[in-house]
C-alpha cells in the first residue's frame, strides 16, 4: 500500500468485471459504498467489459492480448485499480505480464499496470488506520476461498479477519477450504458431469458446516455453487462477501427471490 492511500481523497478506478456488471450489480454498488465510507473517490471508467480470461484460457492468446491492451489503455491513467474478483484481478495483475512478456510496447506497460491492480478484499485489509467494519449483518456464514483469490491474490486470512469485525457474524469453516468448486470458467460447461460432482461436494461441505450463508470473493464460484444448491433444493444462500461487509444484504441472495 503506498502512502498516498493514507490521503483519503485518493482516487480509485473500479474494474467492475463482466459477471458483476451483468448479473450482480449489487457487488459493484456495495464496493463503491464501502470504499467511499473509507474516504476514497471511486470512478468507473466507461470503456470496460471483460478482463479477457475467456480468450486467454481458451488458448486464444492474440485475442486475449487485444482485450488486455484495451483494459490497460483505459485504466492506465489511474493509480489504483480495484477488482471485486480474485480471478479477474489475477488475470490483470499476473497473466497480462505473461502475455506481453515479448511485446515491445506492452511488456513494460503491463508490468507497471500489474502493480496498480488489487483484489478488493486484499485492498481493504491493507487500508491504513481503517475504521472497523460496522455492518449490521447477523448470521452464521462459511467462506469459500476461490482458487484464484487463494492462489493468485493470496487472500485467505484477510477475508476472515475482516468478517470477524462484524459483531453479529459467526464463521463456520468448510472442511475442504482448499478444494475447487468446479467452476473453472468454460470448464463447467465443457465438462458438466465432472463439474457437477465437484460442486455437489462443495454444496454438501457447505451444508455440513452448519452455516446459513456461503460468502466468497468471486462471482463465478458463487453462481456455480448457488446454482447447484438451488438444483438440489438446498436452503443455503450465496452472496459476494462485499455485500455483507458493506451492509447491503437487502437484495435477494444469488439465484433466489
Amino acid at each position: 500500500m503506498n502512502n498516498e492511500l493514507k490521503n483519503k481523497k485518493t482516487e480509485i478506478a473500479l474494474f467492475v468485471t463482466c459477471l458483476v456488471d451483468l448479473f450482480r450489480p449489487s457487488v459493484a454498488f456495495a464496493t463503491i459504498k464501502l470504499l467511499k465510507e473509507y474516504g476514497y473517490t471511486v470512478v468507473v471508467p466507461k470503456a470496460q467489459s471483460c478482463c479477457g480470461q475467456p480468450a486467454y484460457n481458451s488458448g486464444d492468446y492474440e485475442g486475449a492480448k487485444k482485450v488486455a491492451s484495451a483494459v490497460i489503455n483505459e485504466f492506465d491513467k489511474y493509480k489504483n485499480v480495484i477488482v471485486p474478483s480474485g480471478s479477474c484481478a489475477g488475470m490483470m495483475a499476473k497473466h497480462y505480464v505473461d502475455l506481453f512478456k515479448d511485446d515491445p510496447e506492452f511488456s513494460k506497460k503491463s508490468l507497471i499496470f500489474s502493480k496498480k491492480v488489487q483484489e478488493l478484499i486484499s485492498f481493504l485489509s491493507k487500508i491504513p488506520d481503517r475504521k472497523k467494519l460496522h455492518s449490521n449483518f447477523k448470521g452464521t456464514i462459511t467462506y469459500h476461498d476461490s482458487c484464484s483469490s487463494l492462489r493468485e491474490a493470496g487472500v485467505k486470512h484477510q477475508a476472515r479477519e475482516l468478517l470477524q469485525e462484524i459483531k453479529g457474524l459467526k464463521i463456520k469453516e468448510l472442511k475442504h477450504t482448499e478444494v475447487c468448486c468446479g467452476f473453472g470458467g468454460t470448464f463447467c460447461v465443457k465438462y458438466p458431469q465432472i463439474s457437477e460432482r465437484m460442486v455437489s461436494e462443495k454444496v454438501a461441505d457447505a451444508e455440513a458446516s452448519g452455516a446459513e450463508i456461503l460468502l466468497s470473493g468471486d462471482l463465478g464460484c458463487l453462481m456455480n455453487i448457488a446454482g447447484r444448491a438451488s438444483r438440489e433444493g438446498k436452503k443455503i444462500e450465496c452472496r459476494h462477501v462485499i455485500e455483507v461487509m458493506a451492509d447491503m444484504t437487502s437484495v435477494s441472495p444469488i439465484g433466489k427471490k
Binding site: G59, R151, E196
Partner: protein, 476 residues
C-alpha cells in the same frame, strides 16, 4: 506409439468412471491419506521450500547443457564397464531391449516399476516376441495379472480396493497352490511376495527404470519401498536400465537434494525405504550382481521441448503429488486420461509425447485451480503449460467451429465497448424479463452445459454499467 491412447475419449471415460462405484470407493480411500501424509512430512521439513527451489534450479541448469551431462554420464558408465544405448523413439528402445535379451537367450525378464516401459508398450512387445515380462512392484504386479494399466504413477493399482485385490489374488494364485482367500493387506502382500520370490530366481534379465542418472559417477538410481527393484537388478545376469534423457543430474549431491523433496511429496516419507545406486556390472571381487549392465536412454519427443515454453514440464520427478491433489483426477481416476501419465502432469506432458490431436481433452479438463502447481516440489507451472497446449490447439483450429465462433463474437463485442454495453444490457433485460419468480432458470437453451447440472441464477435487473451511466451522465 504402441500403447494407443484413448485420451480423446476422455468424456466417455470420465462418465464411466463417475458411475463406477468401486472406483469411487477406491479413490476415496486413498485420496485423503496421501494428502495428509504429504502435509505432515512437509511440516517436519521447515526448509522444504528452499530445497524445492534448489531442486528446480538443478534441473533447469542441466537442461542448459543436457548433451554435456548425458555424454558425461555415458563416459562414466563405460568406464565402469556398462553400456549406454541411445533410443530416439519407442521402437528404437524396444528393439534395443529385445536384441539385448536375445543375445543371452532370455526367456523371462523381471521388472521394477518403470513408467517408460508403459510409455513404449514394452510388455506387449516382449510377449509378442516370446519373452515373459514379470512385474515385481506390487502395484504393477496387480495390474499386470488383472490385465489392466496403471492408474497412478506411484500407486499403479490405486483404482482397486483391497477387496478387489483379494478376489484377484484368489483367482490367479489358487492354481499355484495358494488356496485360501486372504483378506488382510499384510497377508496379501506376503502372498504376492511368496509368488514373486521364485520368479526373481528364474529370471534371465532384470529391467528397472531410473529416478536419476548421475553424470559424475555413471550411476543410475531407483527409489522404492518394497525392495523389489534390488532383487530385480542384482539377481539375473543382465541388468537393463530404461530411462529418459530428463533424468540426468550432475552429481550425487544433486540426487540427495532432489530426494529430500521427492519422498515427502510422493508418499509423505522423509526418505523412501530403499534408494539403490547401480554403477556398472559385477566387479571381479563382488559376490553378486549382474554380468552385464546396460542403460537405454530414450528421448521420445522430450528434446523437442527444450527451449520452448513447455520445457518446465521436463523437471518432473514423478512424485504424483499433482494428481493426488487434483480435484478432477480425484473424481475420474487415472484411466480416464487414456494414456500413461494421468492427472495434471499428464495433461501437460502427454500432448508432447503423443500429439495434441490425440490428447486435446487433457489440457482442457482442468479448472486451473492451481493446486497442482502449489504442491509440485519441482515448481512446474502446470496450469500455464496446459494453457500453452490450449494455445497450440487454438492455432491448429482443433476446438469446434461453434466454440471458436462464439469466442470470436464475444471478442468483437468486448473490443467495442459502446456496442458491448448496448448488446449486454439488452441481453440482461431479456433475461430479466423472462426471469421466473423464483429467481433462477432451470433450463436455458443456449447454456445447456450449465443448466444440465445446475440452475442459472437470474440477473438482478439492469446491468451495473447502464445503471451507473443513468446516475452519472458526466462521469469520465
Amino acid at each position: 506409439m504402441t500403447v494407443n491412447p484413448t485420451s480423446n475419449n476422455f468424456k466417455e471415460n470420465a462418465k464411466k468412471a463417475l458411475a463406477d462405484e468401486n472406483l469411487q470407493a477406491a479413490l476415496n480411500n486413498l485420496k485423503g491419506g496421501l494428502i495428509s501424509k504429504r502435509k505432515e512430512a512437509i511440516k517436519r521439513l521447515p526448509e522444504f521450500d528452499a530445497i524445492s527451489t534448489r531442486a528446480k534450479n538443478i534441473k533447469d541448469e542441466v537442461f542448459l547443457d543436457l548433451d554435456f551431462y548425458l555424454e558425461k554420464f555415458e563416459k562414466k558408465t563405460i568406464e565402469y564397464g556398462g553400456v549406454v544405448h541411445w533410443a530416439e523413439d519407442a521402437n528404437d528402445a524396444k528393439n534395443i531391449i529385445l536384441e539385448l535379451l536375445k543375445s543371452i537367450n532370455a526367456k523371462i525378464m523381471t521388472k521394477g516399476k518403470t513408467l517408460i516401459s508403459e510409455e513404449i508398450g514394452l510388455n506387449e512387445f516382449l510377449e509378442e516376441n516370446g519373452i515373459e515380462p514379470v512385474e515385481t512392484d506390487l502395484g504393477e504386479y496387480i495390474v499386470q495379472i488383472a490385465g489392466e494399466k496403471p492408474s497412478h504413477i506411484i500407486a499403479p493399482a490405486l483404482h482397486k480396493t483391497k477387496e478387489n485385490v483379494a478376489d484377484l489374488f484368489h483367482e490367479i494364485h489358487s492354481p499355484l497352490g495358494y488356496k485360501e482367500r486372504q483378506n488382510s493387506a499384510s497377508a496379501l502382500v506376503a502372498e504376492a511376495r511368496s509368488v514373486l520370490r521364485k520368479r526373481y530366481l528364474e529370471a534371465d534379465a532384470g529391467l528397472t527404470g531410473a529416478n536419476f542418472l548421475v553424470a559424475e559417477t555413471g550411476s543410475t538410481a531407483i527409489v522404492t519401498n518394497e525392495g523389489n527393484g534390488d532383487l530385480t537388478q542384482s539377481l539375473p545376469k543382465m541388468h537393463i536400465v530404461l530411462a529418459t534423457i530428463d533424468k540426468v543430474v550432475p552429481t550425487l549431491e544433486d540426487v540427495s537434494t532432489i530426494l529430500r523433496v521427492l519422498n515427502p511429496s510422493a508418499t509423505g516419507q522423509d526418505m523412501a525405504t530403499y534408494v539403490t545406486f547401480s554403477t556398472g556390472p559385477k566387479r571381479r571381487d563382488d559376490n553378486a550382481g549382474p554380468d552385464q549392465f546396460h542403460v537405454v536412454i530414450l528421448d521420445n519427443g522430450r528434446s523437442d521441448l527444450i527451449g520452448t515454453d513447455k520445457q518446465d514440464v521436463l523437471r518432473c520427478i514423478r512424485c504424483g503429488a499433482c494428481m493426488n491433489h487434483c480435484p478432477v483426477y480425484g473424481i475420474v481416476g487415472g484411466h480416464a486420461y487414456g494414456w500413461v501419465y494421468p492427472g495434471p502432469i499428464g495433461a501437460a506432458l502427454n500432448p508432447a509425447l503423443i500429439g495434441i490431436e490425440k490428447s486435446h481433452h487433457l489440457p482442457n479438463a482442468s479448472t486451473f485451480c492451481g493446486r497442482c502447481e502449489e504442491v509440485c516440489p519441482m515448481q512446474i507451472p502446470l496450469p500455464k503449460i496446459m494453457r500453452h497446449w490450449r494455445n497450440e490447439e487454438w492455432k491448429k483450429k482443433i476446438p469446434k467451429y461453434s466454440v471458436r465462433l462464439v469466442l470470436k463474437l464475444w471478442l468483437f463485442l468486448v473490443l467495442n465497448p459502446v456496442l458491448y454495453r448496448i448488446v449486454s444490457s439488452i441481453f440482461v433485460r431479456i433475461l430479466s424479463f423472462f426471469s421466473p419468480q423464483k429467481g433462477y432458470f432451470s433450463n436455458l437453451p443456449f447454456a445447456s452445459g450449465w443448466t444440465s447440472v445446475r440452475d442459472f441464477p437470474a440477473p438482478e435487473g439492469k446491468s451495473f454499467l447502464s445503471q451507473w451511466e443513468e446516475e452519472h451522465d458526466d462521469n469520465k
